[in-house]
């Protein structure tokens, strides 16, 4: 049975059939017909204040719910504003469909007003993209786009929608997906599973190394079962955080550049690495030639191109993490505790993540610990930099859909819009964006979106008056020449900024105020920005310097009062000017 409708209506009907109930976007000239159809549709539309926000919201929504996130932007600048958000989703394998307006088909290629070749621009940062040239292709393309976005290794798909295509009339049909060039390999090869299981059984010092693939396959249950069955310690990447509960005795926390010492030591000592849905990124492996030198490597990944891309793999297993883990569970027999377990546990005791608390100055790590204490079940999103690493290190993560961070692309400005998207997808959860004073400003305009749509997300700005991670590198590797990283004087008053948008602003300048600020924020059913004036000299520790092996992980000096002095002097003046704060 078919029905006549406009292209725009066919788009909305296709979205509905794909189970979309919310889209994030901003209209524009060529999108008028589409927005007219949105006006008459029951799909919820969240109006953003910058298209980058729409892309990150769709991304945060997708990560928090496991569903495909949808964002919409107009042609030209609207579409190019999505680019960072699409690249971000691509690097972290987030299922997303981005819809962009395009000029009328007969104007394409003529440098028309607000024309940009967005399919060309997004070619390297989408799993696939489409330029629709006829209304009759709408339903097929939307079906394919959603199918591609959510299956196999998920990723963003862009659909470019010329204005005339949305106006033309079309018979609505709902075709089957038939793509001869796209057959994602889901089922792992039985022989390879058997080989992997045998290697696991024979290993004396196994480590399970888990990435975002486990989260997307919803395989964390199977992961916990496997790890406990064979008593193998588990470390996660930033993307894999939450896939294995960090309060579990077998958890080694995060590995890599700012991972735990014990995770990195375990990798270097291991005789078998079971990598699941992780891609041996340079931030994880350190110097690649000496990564896990004694280990056989088993690599499970749904994307065949990841296997053997960065490291040699002894036993490749191409398949979905859930399927592969279920196969492994059948093949392995229980293993008791071993000397290896004792060793990793001893490392955990000996080298815990730590910092030096202070009664006068707020330590950023302390803020994270308090957030975790007061809101242990909250969804945490992060910006990028020191705030992100502290949120990864000092919050005890237990749920894969509750830690949302820009891993691959490292996009400052991601966390706040992602928090809004996550809160819309999971309104029953508290959602907190752990931010820095640098990154929060990159998309703070979305405060308007949060306020207007009554989305009560919380932002915890760890305000250290600088672009902290870069500053940390300057301190360590560029003889403290703080080139373009000191913001102190120039950042706005975040409390007033929040209030200007109609949100709530709170500030803590002393450790004793941290808890009450968090409690007040969590009890407020409105968007809240918490401005924590933290020690500017604090560094993320431990650290594997770039190009070093994981075993060479260093404790950076933990800041006590004396060490903080140098930077404090630099910042103090700026803070006094702007915030009226006296020293620390």
């Amino acid at each position: 049975m078919s029905q006549k409708m406009t292209g725009a209506q066919a788009v909305l009907e296709s979205l509905k059939r794909e189970g979309v109930d919310v889209v994030f976007g901003l209209p524009g000239g060529v999108l008028l017909p589409l927005y007219d159809a949105i006006y008459q549709s029951d799909i919820r539309h969240i109006l953003v204040r910058h298209e980058q926000g729409a892309a990150h919201m769709a991304d945060g929504y997708a990560r928090a719910t496991g569903k495909v996130g949808v964002c919409i932007a107009t042609s030209g600048p609207g579409a190019t504003n999505l680019v960072t958000g699409i690249a971000n989703a691509y690097m972290d394998s987030v299922p997303m469909v981005a819809i962009t307006g395009q000029v009328n088909t007969w104007l394409i290629g003529k440098d028309a007003f607000q024309e940009a070749d967005i399919t060309g621009i997004t070619l390297p940062i989408t799993k696939h993209n489409y330029l629709l040239r006829s209304a009759k292709d709408i339903t097929r393309v939307f079906r394919e786009a959603f199918y591609i976005a959510r299956t196999g290794r998920p990723g963003p798909v862009l659909i470019d929608l010329p204005r005339d295509v949305t106006v033309d009339e079309v018979e609505f049909t709902w075709p089957q997906v038939d793509m001869p060039g796209y057959r994602p390999s889901v089922k792992a090869h039985e022989m390879q599973i058997k080989k992997a299981a045998k290697a696991l059984m024979e290993a004396e010092r196994p480590v399970i190394y888990v990435g975002g693939g486990v989260k997307y396959a919803a395989a964390h249950g199977e992961l916990i079962e496997l790890a406990t069955k064979i008593n193998a310690p588990v470390t996660t990447t930033l993307m894999g955080i939450g896939c294995f509960p960090e309060d579990h005795p077998l958890s080694l926390g995060m590995l890599g550049m700012h991972g735990t010492k014990y995770a990195n030591y375990a990798i270097q000592e291991s005789d078998l690495i079971l990598a699941i849905g992780a891609r041996f990124d340079d931030r994880v492996t350190g110097k690649i030639s000496s990564f896990a030198p004694r280990a056989k490597i088993v690599h499970i990944d749904v994307d065949p191109a990841e296997v053997g891309k960065n490291v040699r793999v002894d036993i490749p297993v191409v398949g979905d993490a859930k399927n592969a883990l279920q196969g492994l569970l059948k093949e392995v027999s229980p293993k008791g505790r071993s000397v290896w377990n004792e060793k990793t546990e001893a490392w955990k005791k000996e080298y815990p993540l730590r910092y030096i608390p202070n009664d006068n100055v707020i330590k950023p790590q302390y803020v994270i610990e308090k957030l975790c204490e007061i809101a242990p079940d909250a969804i945490i999103t992060t910006e990028v930099g020191q705030n992100q690493m502290w949120a990864a290190q000092f919050f005890v993560h237990k749920d894969p859909q509750k830690f949302i961070s820009s891993g691959g692309l490292g996009t400052m400005g991601y966390g706040f819009p992602a928090a809004i998207g996550a809160k819309i997808g999971r309104p029953e959860c508290d959602v907190i964006d752990v931010a820095g004073d640098g990154s929060f400003l990159m998309n703070s305009q979305e405060l308007a979106t949060a306020v207007v749509n009554e989305i009560p997300v919380k932002v915890a700005v760890l305000n250290n008056g600088c672009l902290g991670m870069v500053r940390q590198w300057q301190e360590l590797f560029f003889e403290k020449r703080y080139s373009a990283t000191i913001l102190g004087r120039t950042s706005p008053d975040f409390v007033k900024l929040a209030e200007a948008y109609g949100a709530v602003g709170l500030r803590a300048t002393k450790p004793s105020e941290v808890e009450s600020v968090i409690r007040t924020a969590m009890a407020t059913d409105r968007p809240v920005v918490m401005d924590f004036i933290v020690n500017p000299a604090e560094k993320v520790s431990p650290m594997v310097p770039a190009g070093a092996t994981l075993g060479e992980i260093l404790d950076l000096e933990w800041c006590d009062d004396a060490q903080s002095c140098h930077l404090e002097k630099i910042y103090a003046k700026g803070r006094k000017d702007i915030l009226g704060l006296e020293g620390f």
């Binding site: 060309g120 070619l123 390297p124 330029l131 793509m179 796209y182 053997g308």
Partner: protein, 163 residues
């Protein structure tokens, strides 16, 4: 080390860009690429020559296979396949040199497809080495212009690379 791969792709706008873009952004080295229609109008066939070690070749094949418009990727073992290239060469030719050039053309089983008072155009097919060799021999007369296709290749015997 050089490798030849046959890639069956959907015959759609932008597919060549997707493939060329993939090679440049992943820093794969491409020596030659040729595209043409196949027995099925929905598909085109590309023959791509790349150089790199086995690991690079494996990545090239896997990354190409990930493209939605790519239907099939197959490595062609040079010892089991036939490779051909076509070149047309415009060479200086006057009364004195014409007969000598024609002898070379005969030896290479090439063809003369255009003649004027001062030049000739020669068409030659063969593998890369053969074409390099005739080009080398014709240099003495002064080559004015060369147009070469990329390589096309096919497995010997009954085996086929198809969608």
């Amino acid at each position: 080390m050089k490798h030849t791969i046959a890639v069956i792709v959907e015959n759609k706008a932008g597919v060549l860009t997707r493939i060329a873009g993939l090679f440049s952004r992943r820093s794969f080295n491409i020596d030659s690429l040729s595209v043409g229609a196949t027995e099925n109008p929905d598909y085109s066939r590309m023959t791509i020559t790349v150089h790199g070690d086995r690991d690079v070749l494996e990545q090239v094949i896997k990354q190409l296979s990930k493209l939605i418009n790519v239907i099939r990727v197959s490595e062609l073992d040079p010892s089991e396949s036939i490779e051909r290239e076509l070149a047309i060469i415009k060479v200086n030719a006057d009364k004195e040199s014409r007969s000598e050039i024609m002898q070379i053309v005969n030896i290479f089983r090439a063809k003369i497809i255009d003649v004027s008072h001062r030049s000739m155009i020669i068409e030659v097919t063969g593998d890369e080495e053969k074409i390099d060799a005739i080009v080398q021999l014709l240099r003495q007369f002064g080559i004015k212009e060369i147009a070469r296709t990329g390589k096309v290749s096919m497995v010997r015997g009954a085996r086929v690379v198809k969608a």
